[in-house]
Amino acid sequence: MALRDGARAAAPLVLPTFALGVSFGVLARSLGWGAVAPIVMSLVVFSGSAQFAAASVLAAGGGAVAAVASAALISARFLPIGLAIGPFLRGGRWRRALEGQAIVDASLPLASDAGRIDRARFLGATLPQFVAWQLGTVLGATGVLGDLDPEALGLDALFPVFFLGLLLPALRRDPGARTVAGLALVLTLVLVPLTPPGVPVLAAAVLALLGLRR
């Protein structure tokens, strides 16, 4: 059953997502946000990178506009992902825009098979991540778990290793993938110090347009 397959494929992300959610809740609490604001934020924004980016801008004295702009830029990578997934969702355009809200970083890698996306798998993969994120935020924001530091536990390495675990088989399977990955590697390394957070990943996504040349 594709929905369950998607959830199972995303299972390794549950722990790091949960831990990151706890640390976001803890951070928000330490910034004096109270418990309600971070919990609501995790529900309606549902993106660790965006939420941390916005929180750090506000903590540094920036205003809401700066916080939203910074977080939106970091989230820009979801736009090409949405373009890729759109054709495979169900219903009219607005219904698809709604289903697109389930997009997370792992969506394409987990749900794509040679460029065709399995809608049920896509939705199934997001579900455990959503639950973990909410649960983590609640526990962190209410102070139930005290102050959890995911970095002390090495949890921050889990996301890149998970993505690496998906990348290696793709590289083995597809020579074209190796070219794109090599270019993305160089491009990202160059752009991280030169551009605001979020731009390097977006730029790497644009590289995929190389596929149009073949």
Binding site: V45, A64, A67, Q101, G115, G154, A157, F162, A181, A184
Partner: protein, 102 residues
Amino acid sequence: MSGVWATIVGLALAMAVIKGAGPLLVGGRALPDRAPRVIALLVPALLTALVVVGTLADGDRLAVDARLAGVAAGGVALLARAPLVLALVVAMATTALVRAVA
């Protein structure tokens, strides 16, 4: 606190637009021939960028820290065909250890 709530509302709207715009624009139209190929290349491009940023980026600068050790250890485990969960455990333990002693 009003800045916080304004941010939450504004960001929720922005995120909805970002995630919804793609499906809104292309949804329902026939898939162009080249699209599967582009999507299939989008995956390794995104994954590579996410690995690099997750390992070496610290805000807007590159930083070599315990994460690199952890990701490298996890990478070695993956190349040795270890199951993903084992590679994740290796990565986590290595990162925590390096951070503790460094």
